[in-house]
Symmetry: C2
Amino acid sequence: MATLRDVAARAGVSIRTVSNVVNDFHYVSEATRARVQRAIEETGYQPNLAARSLRGGRSGLIGLIVPEIDVPYFGELTRAFIEQLAGKDYTLVVDHTDGQPDRERDIVLRRRPAPLFDGLIVNPLQLGADQLEVRSPPAPLVLIGEQVHSKQFDHVMIDNVRAARESVEHLISLGRRRIAVIGGPPDGWTKTTALRIEGYRAALRDAGRKPDPTLDVRTEALHRRDGAAAMEQLLALRRPPDAVFCLNDLVALGVLRTLSVHGVRVPDDIAVTGFDDVEDGRYSTPTLSTVAPDKTGIATLALERLMIRMAGDRSPGVTLFADHTFVARESTVGTGAG
Amino acid sequence: MATLRDVAARAGVSIRTVSNVVNDFHYVSEATRARVQRAIEETGYQPNLAARSLRGGRSGLIGLIVPEIDVPYFGELTRAFIEQLAGKDYTLVVDHTDGQPDRERDIVLRRRPAPLFDGLIVNPLQLGADQLEVRSPPAPLVLIGEQVHSKQFDHVMIDNVRAARESVEHLISLGRRRIAVIGGPPDGWTKTTALRIEGYRAALRDAGRKPDPTLDVRTEALHRRDGAAAMEQLLALRRPPDAVFCLNDLVALGVLRTLSVHGVRVPDDIAVTGFDDVEDGRYSTPTLSTVAPDKTGIATLALERLMIRMAGDRSPGVTLFADHTFVARESTVGTGAG
């Protein structure tokens, strides 16, 4: 049976272009569209049900399933997805699972009354690859975030280990000696935590330093309140840190608050970095140094993969990395005034 | 033809309870449920299509349509809706319109391929009551926010005039003489802006003061960057303000940033208030005084009205007010240390 690849080869275009034609996107030129249509006829390629029912029973909906819709990172990521879908023939609807395994299962694996979504972008917290692969979701699915590794599904993420390492190397380059880390659950490690801590430790190791366990503070969640409480704990140490690598921006904003309450100068006394580059950290005082994942890149890659899957591609899952950059702001380098 | 009210009267329960039974919610006692069922049979009441197809063609989806999903207020409001729906037989899906009239129309008035939502909660920015009423949405609909006034649809909001007035009265009570206002589009007034400015002016008038037009700064949108730019403008005045009433928290957070960059002390030199009580303002330095709308109350009232409508009630639309409180924090009253 002819595949998307066969059509692409015959038409002399990329798989993505075939996918765009099959999914009826507007930005394919008429000439290319005609060439692809001809190749589809010549190869006898049959797009899958979702694609075939384009004008019929499809819902026109793509579901974006995130753990917490009121966390700024997910708000901003959602906007990136909506912008990437603009002008295409799909509407993005968002649901959040609040990290509850039952809710994740219900939404992602739900089949009745009818397949709700033509495609799913899922950032799972609790749902494992085994559950997804065995129970097979009702629509093509692309994973984002760090939690799940799957051979079946495409997966878009950033290189968390490298990003964390670059943050900590930045702190080391500023001459910081006692670099703490804040974030991640106390009982067991989520994958996100594990990857970012791995980067933290790698940077310390490369600089010939040993991680100090008193400077590693685990938190229930990654919210502002968790960062604020953890920083209280670190300030109570006989030898507090001179820098803090936070596993996300919300934790870092909570840390900044505690430091402000105690009159600790940032970055003079303690430098702080976050992770996510949410808008809050661009307007806080001090502004927040952080890892900026390319959210538009994540949305673009994930939707490209999803469209290819919706057009019928059944090849094994691939992992794709979106870009990231480290952005140095006042919380590590100051205002330049001092 | 029997109405929801007839059933309620016959069963001796509230309309809300009948609605809960018709919508198959779990938290109605068996005895009450039986009584309502009997009253439904005796009156010959026919729930509308959405309710009748409970086990059949209904989608199980309630749509929440907001202007900007990445604005923290809408993120927090969305969470409130999701929490209020927990344990009920519906899933909330969220879409955002980015304030574009076409997109609002597409989502709210969309009928194909099938009615997507069993009910809609809509916070319109551009869509007028006339368009909604004439073109009649495909599912029961409840309005939230301030933009639209309708005789047909239920509407849940807070008392914006009173809330704004209380904020400005707070600033007056602190002895502030030159109270600026920041926010709202320069070309014409949105309803939200109009109501909050009305409250601002009423407070000044009651204190025997005249609004100073140089202290009224209009902004394109209500984002951090708008507040930051507007504050630059106010600081450039020969006589800058000693207080700023911002039309929302994001604007106020932008204002705080500009004041910090210029070394202006808050609240000593300039006091600042916001509107929305988003989490950002509870962790900023200084923390932000603001109007806290009862988001849970908004969600509860809106969903109650929606369930009553989904159960078939066709009486004229009502406007319901959720509570609000003014929360004084460091940006107006300081840390108490000084």
